[in-house]
């Protein structure tokens, strides 16, 4: 029962949330592929800035939606990636990129587990 709603409205909301959750799960595969592509871009120091900006933007979106559709852990991992990149200085160093890679791999592990379970 959703707080403050009668049974019909609660059922309507729960059905809506289930549809959004299903669409989110369907989107996981594409999101994972995009992250792997960006991980590849991190091999080239000339692409670090752009790749980090894109990784941050995608992580930010995951952070915003995941807990609302029942995937809190993915959201937490995504927030860690987002905050790490927010905290990086203007000049990226190899050590920074290693940290980004490391957290992004943790996020990918979490996403893949949910994709496998779906």
């Amino acid at each position: 029962m959703v707080q403050g709603l009668d049974a019909d409205k609660a059922a309507q909301l729960n059905a809506g949330l289930a549809r959004i959750r299903e669409r989110f799960v369907q989107s996981l595969s594409d999101r994972i592929d995009a992250f792997y592509e960006l991980l590849g871009d991190l091999r080239d120091p000339g692409s670090w800035q752009d790749a980090c900006a894109e990784i941050r933007a995608s992580a930010h979106k995951l952070h915003g939606i995941c807990a609302s559709v029942g995937f809190s852990k993915i959201g937490q991992n995504a927030a860690q990636v987002e905050y790490l990149i927010d905290g990086l200085g203007p000049t990226l160093r190899e050590r920074d990129i290693d940290e980004v890679r490391s957290l992004l791999n943790l996020l990918l592990d979490e996403m893949e587990q949910h994709l496998d379970a779906a």
Binding site: L5, K9, Q12, G16, I65, S68, S72, G75
Partner: protein
């Protein structure tokens, strides 16, 4: 209630729509960007009542969108609820400075979201009532009581009392417990209220609010007039000026007739600055008693000696030891 919800993430838009519709808000328009939102506002036959904006979007972000909406006469006072994963203080401050009335952080749960929309609805109703009352007051139909707040517009850092409370709740949500509040009373406003029209009184209070806001420039503080000649200020404790400094500056600026001028009641002005009050760690997010304590602290400030225009240039100020 007509709602415009703006987010670049399709799933978030769907989530907002599903949540709002299930709670009876069926007149919802969705936009995928700031630019799309402006187009939808321009083509709306009937104005929207409430806005929900994401902050971080490609192109025009939600903060700029809020400023653009606030520039439109129809939407100067409409609730704007920011819905965003950006939970740093800087973003929250910028959103409120741009004119946001509330702030919900993603990920959100549906109950929280609806609570904030209902608050926005309530704020909108109160604002409409205050605007209607203000309009009739300004044409002299009825004068507000001295103890009542009045609507003040377009001063940087100035917010209504309801918005100030929302800001404080967000700060507490984000564990920004380093905020503090203090109150300023300008006692001579009572004399101005007694001897002037509603319109003149509103002008003088607006001038005083602007002076207070100028005094707090750089301190990231928000100011609100709560009636009875009292202004409530909230900001990060380490950034707020000392009471003595504020009083000195206020004394000079309030008595500069280019800044504060009352045609109908010649008077000099003084200011009492209360001690700083801070939220307590175990207080709940919606426990705003520290704002009340800030106002209560004014009662510990010794009564101001009335200044006459003859000696106002060198008048005495009562300094409250915080």
């Amino acid at each position: 209630m007509r709602i415009l919800a703006v987010d670049d993430d399709e799933l978030i838009r769907e989530l907002l729509l599903a949540t709002l519709e299930a709670h009876g808000y069926t007149d919802v328009t969705l936009a995928e960007s700031g630019e799309d939102a402006l187009r939808k506002i321009a083509s709306a036959g009937k104005p929207f009542d409430t806005f929900m904006f994401d902050i971080q979007m490609p192109g025009m972000d939600g903060i700029e969108l809020t400023q653009r909406v606030r520039d439109m006469p129809d939407y100067r006072e409409s609730p704007v609820v920011m819905i965003t994963a950006m939970n740093q203080k800087d973003y929250i401050d910028r959103a409120f400075l741009a004119g946001a009335t509330d702030y919900v952080t993603k990920p959100f749960d549906t109950t929280e979201l609806i609570t904030r929309i209902r608050l926005a609805d309530k704020l909108q109703s109160e604002t409409r009532r205050a605007t209607v009352a203000g309009q009739s007051q300004r044409v002299g139909k009825n004068k507000p009581a001295y103890a009542d707040p009045i609507a003040i517009e377009e001063i940087k850092g100035y917010v209504s009392s309801g918005v100030l409370q929302n800001y404080v709740m967000i700060m507490k949500d984000q564990k920004q417990l380093s905020i503090g509040a203090f109150a300023i009373r300008v006692p001579e406003l009572e004399k101005v209220h007694a001897g002037s029209s509603a319109e003149e009184f509103a002008y003088v209070v607006t001038d005083v609010a602007e002076v207070i806001s100028d005094t707090l420039v750089g301190s990231q503080a928000f100011v609100s007039y709560i009636g009875g000649g009292v202004f409530l200020c909230v900001g990060p404790r380490r950034m707020l000026p000392e009471a003595q400094t504020i009083q000195d500056q206020l004394f000079t600026m309030l008595n500069d007739s280019d800044l504060v001028y009352c045609e109908e009641v010649p008077t000099s002005f003084s200011a009492q600055v209360g001690a700083l009050s801070a939220p307590k760690i175990l207080e709940r997010r919606d426990d705003l008693r520290f704002l009340g304590r800030a106002v209560d602290n004014l009662n510990m400030v010794p009564k101001q000696r009335q200044l006459s225009p003859m000696n106002s240039g060198i008048g005495r100020l009562d300094i409250h030891a915080a």
